[in-house]
């Protein structure tokens, strides 16, 4: 049985149903990231686990014990808030020790616990200061210290990095991952940043409109998205989703992308049975930017590279790679090119499509076909 288990969780605010039957579990020591666009219910879900919001129906278990009606302070959990929520009138040390003080831990034990956590987070020199005198990154550390010091069963993080600047965010992300690795704690982490989700999680749960879209390891969610929403949400730049039709080629299925002059036909080798059923019918072809490359940049291990000439519309250099935008099937399609020298807007250049890494979705249900 999972360490944290959520069964058929519903939450309504008046007539609005925010969570519509969520089922998730996470093993002890796991790192579950709840990800989704704003308003998808991920923060509500986290607050329900914390006990800060009551739930309408369903069941939340922590370590086998139902906590539905347990007060937040009795659930043995700690939370890091988006705004850090440091008590402005207390020093850093008092902030960290407040939870222990409320639980009646003696002063000597508190001091020892503060010292240990401060050393771990390298904030010993800040203990006497007020939160107002700290930088964003330091506040973030203190907020984590306040959660760590109580040594709870479960840690909850509510978009903890969203108030930091880009560089610090990457540093803290690494730090959180290191802490998780070192302490082996169970963490539930909310973010709208899919890169944070990919880098941190052992399990990703993608939410949209209060419905769980997919739960799985980062690799599963990335390489086998369950539907078009997940495909579009995970990955940056986003996956190209192109309307196309499946037809029977000479020796295998092929996908036809309608173009202005004549349609572009790409072979689909080793097509699974589920895709064969769609022969002659419209589908949505999904292909990630890194699977559309220049000929030299194509993955040497890829078995099926299809080539097609496309006209270049936009060139966006990022340093390491260059994103090249073209038109396919009336949609903008982004490819990622290693070597962009000599690319000029308007020219027609050959693009290499890695057909072993394509995704197909049903245009009506938006679910994954293959």
């Amino acid at each position: 049985m999972s360490f944290l288990e959520i069964k058929d969780l519903h939450k309504r605010f008046g007539s609005v149903e925010v969570l519509k039957g969520v089922d998730i579990g996470i093993e002890e020591g796991g790192f579950l990231v709840l990800v989704g666009p704003s308003g998808c219910g991920k923060s509500t879900l986290l607050n329900s686990i914390a006990g800060l919001e009551s739930i309408t129906s369903g069941e939340i278990r922590i370590d086998g014990k139902i906590v539905n009606d347990l007060h937040p302070s009795k659930r043995d959990i700690a939370m890091v808030f988006q705004s850090y929520a440091l008590y402005p009138s207390m020093s850093v040390g008092e902030n960290i020790a407040f939870g222990l003080e409320m639980r009646g831990v003696s002063k000597a034990e508190r001091e020892a616990a503060i010292g240990k956590v401060a050393t771990m987070l390298q904030i010993e020199h800040l203990l006497k200061r007020r939160p107002g005198q700290l930088s964003g990154g330091q506040r973030q550390r203190v907020a984590m210290g306040r959660a760590l010091v109580r040594d709870p069963k479960l840690f909850l993080f509510d978009e903890p990095l969203s108030n930091l600047d880009a560089k610090l965010r990457v540093d803290m992300r690494t730090e959180i991952k290191r802490l998780h690795h070192k302490l082996g704690t169970t963490i539930v982490y909310v973010t709208h940043d899919q890169i944070e989700a990919m880098t941190l999680a052992t399990q990703i749960a993608v939410l949209k409109d209060g419905i769980l879209q997919q739960v799985g390891s980062p690799d599963e969610v990335y390489s086998k998205p369950a539907n078009m929403f997940v495909a579009d949400f995970m990955g940056s730049p986003t996956m190209n989703l192109i309307e196309a039709t499946i037809s029977q080629g000479t020796d295998c299925l092929s996908v036809e992308i309608p173009q202005e002059d004549r349609s572009l036909s790409l072979p689909v080798p080793n097509a699974p049975l589920s895709l064969r059923d769609y022969t002659g019918r419209p589908v949505v072809l999904g292909i990630r930017p890194e699977d559309i490359t220049d000929l030299d940049g194509a993955d040497p291990r890829a078995e099926h590279i299809a080539q097609a000439d496309c006209s270049v519309e936009v060139v966006e250099p990022t340093g390491a790679d260059t994103f090249v935008v073209t038109q396919l099937g009336g949609k903008e399609v982004t490819g990622r090119m290693r070597n962009a020298s000599g690319l000029s807007v308007g020219s027609r250049v050959p693009f290499a499509f890695n057909m072993g890494k394509t995704h197909f979705f049903d245009p009506a249900t938006e679910l994954r076909i293959a």
Binding site: M79, S83, M102
Partner: protein, 293 residues
């Protein structure tokens, strides 16, 4: 920031400036004149005032009127001076301000951080109480004080002022706490702090400015109140304002204007001191939350 960028107003001509300052000075003098007249005449012997010319500086300087107003002047029938009534006012104003401020703070805390169904209606009704004129509540209040056996006592006056002040103090604290981050309350809840512990440890230490505003507001109102004092107090619980009226309007003997002036200043002094000591917080507190940043 450079010096020039702080000057946001358009540069005006010298003539315009002279005009502006003239008008300002005229108005300042106009408003300071009464205080000047009171101060000057409160340190003159009575004969000098009788000769007319209220604006002249004293030829003979004396503190006699002040001493008399404080200790020996005839108030109603007793020659007690204003001293016992000053004490009455203090006995009334201190508990009234403390209780109404504390209750306003708790109300504001509940109305923003422990919201219950219908909290808007409750707040709306409390806000409405700010607009009820004093005169309307006189008779029902007299009835209630009678029922509670508090008629004619200082405790009764304290009750009246607490009830009447609650609308304002709740409004002040509610608006202040509304801007207080709810995540802090949630963090403290998860840390295991209860209702009053959160209030005392998290909210109160951050409430300095609004407490100052509320205290000034309540102190000024309660101290300066005349109607409730005149209506609900006995001879031995009358506040300063009522005593001052009795001093000034007593019809026996000569009218000692110098004593009256001294008494009036004595009556106004506490509010003046409270305002001078913490006035800068008042302006700051009233503006708090009005503009972001």
């Amino acid at each position: 920031m450079s010096a020039s960028s702080t000057d946001t107003a358009l540069r005006t001509g010298t003539l315009a400036r002279v005009l502006i300052y003239t008008v300002l000075i005229v108005f300042a003098v106009y408003y300071l004149l009464p205080l000047f007249v009171m101060l000057v005449n409160s340190v003159k012997p009575l004969e000098e005032i009788r000769q007319g010319n209220m604006l002249a500086f004293p030829r003979v300087f004396t503190f006699e009127p002040w001493i008399k107003a404080w200790g020996t002047a005839q108030i109603g029938v007793q020659p007690t001076g204003l001293k016992p009534y000053f004490v009455n006012s203090l006995m009334m104003v201190i508990p009234a301000v403390a209780i109404s401020t504390f209750m306003g703070a708790v109300n504001g805390y509940v109305l923003t951080k422990w919201q219950f169904p219908g909290h808007r209606v409750v707040f709306g009704l409390m806000l409405f109480s700010c607009f009820i004129p004093f005169q309307i509540v006189l008779i029902p209040m007299a009835k209630i004080l009678g029922l509670l056996h508090l008629a004619g006592t200082t405790s009764g006056l304290v009750l009246v002022h607490v009830v009447y002040g609650l609308g304002f103090t709740t409004l002040f604290f509610r608006n202040y706490y509304d801007a207080f981050p709810t995540e802090l309350i949630r963090a403290a809840t998860m840390d295991g702090a209860g209702f009053f512990r959160i209030f005392r440890r998290i909210l109160l230490p951050s409430s300095g400015p609004i407490i100052v505003v509320t205290v000034i507001w309540q102190f000024t109102n309660v101290w300066n109140d005349f109607l409730f004092g005149a209506s609900f107090a006995d001879f031995d619980s009358q506040p300063m304002t009522v005593a001052l009226n009795n001093l000034v309007s007593s019809s026996t003997g000569v009218k000692e204007y110098n004593v009256h002036f001294a008494g009036a200043i004595l009556a106004a002094l506490p509010t003046l001191i409270v305002y001078i000591v913490s006035g800068r917080y008042f302006v700051r507190g009233l503006m708090a939350g009005a503009v972001k940043g």
